[in-house]
Amino acid sequence: MGTALNLVLILLLLTTAVLAVTARDLLAAVIIFSVYSLIMALMWQRLQAPDLALTEAAVGAGVTTVLFVIAIFKTRRREEE
């Protein structure tokens, strides 16, 4: 059970990491990156580091995502060819 959950989390983590890098739409990339942070927070919890999990969820998935979104909002949404 535990190993299966770890495997699923790692696969999701790898998928979101690759998707966040390859996405052309920067807004989509930021949202995928926040999902990556959320999975990372779950993994910190699985590794018995609840302090880090809290930090990752609040800073990684919350604050940085919004700061990135504001930065996109102020510039351009599409990556240039």
Partner: protein, 249 residues
Amino acid sequence: MKRVAALLFIAALAVLLLYVVSRMPPMGDPETPTATHVIPRYLEKAEEETHTVNVITGVILNYRGYDTMGEVTVIFCALAAVLAVLGRERRGVIHGFVDRSEVPSSTIVRTMVRFIVPFIILFSVYTILHGETSPGGGFQGGAIIGGSMIIFTTIFGLYESSRRIPLKVRAPLEGAAVMGFFLVGTLGLVGGGNFLTYAWPRVAQDLHPSLVVWLTVLVEVGIGLGGAMVLTSILFAMIREEEEIATVS
């Protein structure tokens, strides 16, 4: 050609990293160097020496207080860099957040946010104050306050949220984390101990544990307030527009 070289480099790096991972000791192995030197001391003596039930808080704020003080200073410097580039809103003038999105936030969203933000702030206060007994602490709580301010600002705009936390409140509190560390560290010196040890040799033994806990909580509150204000100020600096919407007297 460049692509092939890049791919080869990444493949070589991946092989190297995977090799290193395969040679790492298994998680929880009692024979590794990290588990045989400082960790036994932390686990056995932390509660007795730092009077914090949560060993992680004891390590972060007490054994490695200097490291954390440096980290807090780095966060403060990040704010200084952001403000140097983007500039701060002027005192007394409230800059508006011009909502350029096609869909204005609906009544349901506004009501929900108004309802839920106080509870988020309550949770962050719990996280800050219970840092020495349960997971969490000043930085996490501060980040949660910053997150609640972000939610509020994105729904109600900069005008409403900078009216609630004006510049004259934020500016002195931004340094609260650094100031808290220096204040408590210097208090330790005054009490006859070392900088940031929270130890006061001249205080009676039965008073000592509660004093250490109070000083630790003081540092946690400083980190929480400072972190929250730094995040809020970065958000306001990023979101503000050049045109002025209103001037308050």
